[in-house]
């Protein structure tokens, strides 16, 4: 099923398989995520009212408050966190440090544009340890 491999760079090791949610917008984890529901609360965000729980989050990077790293950790301990994170821009310090203690695999620097292969709810395998993303080629 996963017949296309995208090479990428490991930021936090680990492996995850699941459905993706895709955003073109950065996230301020402190200000824009409800830690009791896992949902994005910013009405102007393209993931508004969507939960990150058990998804593989595909987004550019985090922005804003340095405390956002704790928000990522809180999501994980509340069982509302994403299974894995793919940064389509460059992974940032907030995402990297939050996921390092939450044990959420993170990659960035994808060799292909992942948007050509996935849309919301597509399944993929994120193998951060081996620096590979396995997706289904739609062609």
């Amino acid at each position: 099923m996963f017949n296309e491999t995208i090479n990428c760079r490991k930021i936090v090791e680990g492996k995850a398989e699941g459905k993706v949610i895709v955003s073109k917008n950065p996230i301020n984890f402190l200000a824009m995520v409800n830690l009791d529901t896992g949902k994005i609360t910013d009405q102007s965000h393209d993931l508004f009212n969507i939960s990150l729980k058990d998804k593989i989050l595909v987004f550019p990077h985090s922005i804003g408050s340095s405390v956002g790293a704790y928000s990522i950790y809180a999501l994980k301990t509340n069982n509302l966190g994403p299974k894995g994170i793919i940064c389509t821009a460059k992974a940032d310090i907030i995402t990297a440090s939050g996921c390092a203690i939450a044990n959420i695999p993170v990659v960035d620097k994808l060799e292909k544009d992942i948007h050509d292969f996935i849309k919301n709810e597509s399944r993929l395998i994120l193998d951060a340890t081996n620096q590979k993303i396995m997706v289904k080629n739609r062609n």
Partner: protein, 400 residues
Amino acid sequence: MQLTTEEEKALNGEFGETLSVAYRILLAIGNANDAEKLIPIKWAHVSGVNYNTIGKSGEEFLKEISSEGKKVMIPTTLNPMGFDSTKKNIGLTEEFVNNQLSITDSYKKLGVNMSFTCIPYEIFSLPKKGEYASFAESNAAVFLNSILNIKTNKESALSSLASAITGKTPYSDLLIEENRKSKIMIKPELSTDESDALGQVDTFNLNELDFGLLGYYAGKVSKESCVGIDCKKDQVDIVKMKSLSAGMGTSGICGMFKTEEDSMTEKISFGKKERESVFDELNTSEMGDIIVLGSPQLGMSEINLLDNMIHGKKFKKKCMIFCAKPVYEIAKENESLYRLEKAGCEFFCDSCTCLTPLITKDKYDSITTNSVKCSYYMKHSNKVGVSLKNLNSIVKENTI
């Protein structure tokens, strides 16, 4: 990123869990920032203190990481917490207070200076120019890089803590001289009352709110860690520089601004339209039930400015002032504190407007402030409306 043999051992837990967690964090951020190695630093400033921001899981994490008795390796200062512990009966739940005290207790065990300030650069003696630091609080990181030329990346709460515990940070991004260059330069083109007939704007005439909005806009537009701001740095006072730094830190990934032009710099205008777009995003109410000042916390410059503006008048509504404790003490000494209290101001130390439990939507529909950073978090986190005005207008409109 390459670790030394000793660092590798620490990562693998040979020197305890605290150091292992710290190195795991540094390795992840070092990878993200393409660092080759870790280098020693002189100062860490840690965020993640307010219980409203880090929650129960953060409280438990800090309890765990401080339980081994490991102390920070370098001078480490601390961001504000959720309330002013010298005030009684402030209407907070027992749960909040207990968790808050547990958090501060953990930092104390780690040997962190209980400074509770987001403006440590105005409070503590500074390392030499060009030295390295690890600063989590975004306004302070931008201020350090841009005004003081002390080099730090815009760290996270966890990465600055990891650096405090190890005394090291990945040698990357804004720590490396060649990355401290801007590819774009934001040019303020706002007409002010004082701008001349040709429409040339002297940034000297822009007020602190304009600078906050400019910073917020620049942070949004820039995709790099360093952005150019077209203004004469020596003409802009610390109040405006703080406002610019805080706005920039809030909206994006930028950790530094430069006022000198680098080669290959693309110019982007910050005119009336751009100002309006960020203003409309943050200004969500026409009026405020109360006035809130201090994000970042006020220093003596802002206190003296307000004292001069008030000049015997009185606020018609409650005015909450968040400042650093040493600033409060100086204001007490020079008596501006008493004049401002007489004018209706109430002072809060050790805390800040960002996610403060003292300003909730149960208590207030809206607030008035001159801080872009305060507006952002009131809107997104506290869900309280904001009327955004510059300090001069706030005083004019709300005092008799």
